[in-house]
Symmetry: C2
Subunit: 544 residues, 2 copies
């Protein structure tokens, strides 16, 4: 194999119980570099804003409300998961007090970690999860399933939904390769398995999952299924939902298992009702996933296009052909320029795309040759492998850069959508316009950049990154931008989320997304599986 | 294009309102040839049974119960769809009194067409469908959506579910290409469009759907979506559910629209809840489907394998590679022998596979070369294109042959399943054993043959054809065999149906398929969309 994209960034211990992420930042803050003074000056100039240090408060200055878990309930839970696996200390509660969106971090960095869960439980297996849910339902305690804690949409925020308490159900101990069928290329993985650990366990059998989202280092198998995740190599490996062969789900009403055979016409596909349910219908404890042989070869090639429209058309040609790259991403003009500037390289005019091919030697050879012909015919110019190598090196670093900028008083946040090819460029323009309109003001300018990162025969995703000065009220400033861009997305044929999921943050747009009757269907399913409504209240499913 | 697989068998008029199928047989009985005396003698010998003429009764001798639609309701419906579009005559009712399974045909050929629907309605558009459903729900009238009427599992049987009457809702007038987005390769088609008509309308734009099930000539777009259909070229074009970009569904509670963007993480995918719902949750009126450019070239090649296990392994290798044929089918030893005998050809020992490649010239060239290498390495011997050409010529004829055999006192019925690659051969043996055990008796022997017709990375389908003497009680005889094979399927890791759907006939196995909680989820969704339960009662969803 030319290079190993699968294990180089693996932070997990071999038992999969990787360290927690920082309470105030993505991952391990030691990985985040400070801004050098030159870049800081440049950012100030471009954004027309003063940069100012905005450090987080000290951990001991964070305010947590007291735990509402009474002694009787603590003992009931301890009887199920074991006493050490019921934690009510501030450290555990702070680490489970929310996800990793900019609003999440702004609050915690300012010392506000309320609400925090009243307890964190660490069940060991499916049966313990199911028993915990039965207790929560009977005792009216809200339950927030917690995988890697990487949500950027409020998906793990401990909303109590009016119940007497809320617990965070940390699934890290469900971290086994439960079974492997190498003939059928299917592996059953515990929901709490982090991706590097999954790759390590599968790699021993010469297999890979091939799922590489930006959250790769921390996100879990169960979390991917719960949120309809999509990895950077989705063109070749598919979205996570396409890899899900089967699911095991614990609910307050018992166990639900879905899937198994490779295809079926036995009624609606209940896998697809559980995938994307974000802990509101049940807790996914095991996922049977399709796996693949590890690629013999990875071949990278960057391409340049004179403008975004030409590049988008070229990616569409690939996505609608039978011969595709494994990975294809196209930056718009702004992102192409910013990436070059941040990398200290000269920007090639126009738009840059990074492509990767994975597979057997001969397949990579023949597929890349066909793609090269198609892209040249579509107006592209090859740039060789070097820009892709640079992208691969830094591809998990963006959240760290976001945190570094935040410490320097700059908001750098992302949002994403997908639409048909016909709608894509007008949607791009509308979202850029909405973000600029909301953020380019007396306090600061705003830089909005975008890339296409996932392509399909009928359309593609758009991933926006926006940078702006934090201003006097950073949370309010971002909230305005988020509302404006979400409204623009819904009004221009986009989905409210292509792979970040819904959580609390996208929920206000869900009735528009599903229609009132579609929302009612979700409420009916929830009432059947979670009659008391204790599962992840306040997330995903809009109220009537 | 080398040859046109898409229009050669198109019986539809240009407005899409193709003729009804015969009330007692598949399609147009004029297409069915009589058995020549030699074949008849051979069949008698092989099955150790007397063949006897079993002609259908005359149409005027068919017994229909009287219509229970009263004058007031008839006027209400006429006010919605127009007076001529509410039919209560025996001709219309007989034509909508069931599908095309062997049990269906045995009953009608014997003069029993009860239950028949109390009326047949032909709505013109979505709004009329929705208004009809509102009336049915308020007036407690059961509704059976009717597309091409090709169901072989009782899906269109007019079960009244204890309601005061039952109507058949024939969707043939929803037969338009509603819209086409050639950039996003997406077409919106009316639910009542038959496939040849769809191909004709898309063909004017150089496009194709590529969905070619055996029911191709009569089945409809809405029916495909309602039943999770799979076409013969599913390896290349995907299952129908994979082509569904969006759906418009009328329910007693109003309109539900799902899908649109190419991919989303906005909660569970409600498209997948409606696809496969078989008219029990709503009536699909429009389907947005992914379309493709018509292939420049079709290349066929047959292969021989020394035995079924070797052939199955070879197909698995293809399905797990990135370079696949568009179509691949592998007959077991019995089917290979029978096909050759029926075609008057000498049987090649072992198992025969037919493969097809569709696409651009260069893609077909490169894909077929890769596949050839893989199959040779897997122990296959190429047989050239001729056997595939023969298969293409006769591929829609099997239902006619079934009817011809029935007229000669021989039951020839099919059933199907899918399982993981690991489970496939044991499942094959179990089903062959169950069918032989149920049918090989004093009355007759039984011939059971099988092919793999749909392959996936994690498993494949099995399609069985069984022939046996009709005996004294043909319906009872088939019922025994169906129960034995269905039990064997469920006990050996198979799904109760890979593409025939559930209807009435597979419903007894649905709780085993979904689990009790999964079945409850479907009932909850139904209660939300169809609170009175008037939509296709007695189908798909098991009772509590």
């Amino acid at each position: 194999m030319t290079h190993d994209a699968r294990t180089e960034h693996a932070p997990a211990a071999s038992d999969g119980t990787a360290p927690d992420m920082s309470w105030f930042a993505w991952g391990d803050p030691a990985e985040a570099k400070e801004l050098d003074p030159g870049t800081r000056e440049l950012v100030s100039q471009v954004l027309r804003t003063r940069t100012e240090d905005m450090p987080p408060v000290a951990e001991e200055d964070v305010v947590l409300s007291g735990s509402r878990l009474d002694e009787r309930l603590r003992e009931v839970f301890a009887g199920i998961v074991g006493t050490p696996q019921v934690r009510t200390d501030d450290t555990a509660r702070l680490l489970h007090s929310g996800g990793k969106s900019t609003p999440d971090l702004l609050a915690r960095r300012a010392g506000k970690a309320s609400p925090a869960p009243d307890a964190v439980l660490y069940p060991a297996d499916h049966d313990q999860v199911e028993r915990v849910l039965a207790v929560c339902s009977a005792e009216r305690v809200a339950v927030v399933p917690f995988g890697g804690g990487t949500s950027v949409v409020g998906g793990v925020s401990p909303v109590d939904g009016g119940f007497r308490a809320v617990i965070s159900l940390d699934l890290r101990r469900l971290n086994r390769l439960v079974s492997l069928d190498a003939t059928s290329l299917t592996a059953v993985l515990g929901a709490g398995v982090r991706t590097p650990h999954a790759e390590e366990m599968l790699g021993e059998h010469g297999l890979t999952l091939g799922h590489m989202p930006q959250s790769y280092e921390y996100a879990t198998i169960g979390g991917y299924a719960a949120t309809r995740s999509s990895g950077q190599a989705s063109a070749g490996y598919g979205r996570f939902e396409d890899m899900v062969v089967g699911l095991r789900v614990a609910t307050p009403r018992g166990t639900l298992e879905a899937g198994g055979p490779p295809a079926s016409a036995a009624g609606p596909d209940l896998r697809r009702l559980l995938v994307g349910s974000e802990g509101t219908l049940g807790v996914i404890t095991e996922v049977a996933v399709r796996v693949r042989p590890r690629p013999e070869r990875v071949l990278d090639e960057a391409w340049s296009f004179p403008d975004y429209a030409t590049g988008v058309d070229a990616l569409r040609t690939l996505a609608q052909s039978d011969t595709r790259p494994t990975m294809a991403r196209l930056s718009d003009e702004t992102e192409t320029f910013v990436n070059a500037a941040l990398g200290g390289r000269e920007a090639v005019p126009g738009c840059q795309a990074v492509l990767g091919f994975e597979g057997t030697d001969s397949e990579v050879e023949s597929r890349s040759a066909v793609v090269r012909r198609l892209l040249e015919a579509a107006g592209g110019t090859p740039l060789g492998p070097e820009p892709v190598a640079h992208w691969r090196e830094t591809r998990f670093h963006a959240p760290y850069l976001r945190d570094t900028l935040l410490s320097a008083g700059v908001l750098a946040e992302t949002l994403e959508t997908a639409a048909s090819w016909s709608d894509l460029l007008p949607l791009h323009a509308a979202v850029v316009g909405a973000l600029t309109g909301a953020l380019d003001d007396d306090e600061s300018g705003a830089v909005v950049q975008c890339h296409v990162s996932h392509t399909y025969a009928t359309g593609a995703s758009l991933y926006f990154t926006v940078a702006t000065g934090a201003g006097e009220d950073p949370a309010g400033r971002w909230d305005r931008a988020k509302r404006a861009s979400s409204d623009a997305i819904v009004a221009n044929g986009g989905t409210i989320t292509h792979h970040h999921a819904v959580g609390t943050d996208h929920r206000p747009w869900m009735t528009a997304e599903l229609g009132p009757l579609g929302a009612e269907v979700l409420r009916a399913v929830k009432a059947a599986l979670d009659p008391e409504g204790v599962l992840n209240p306040g997330k995903l499913i809009p109220e009537a």
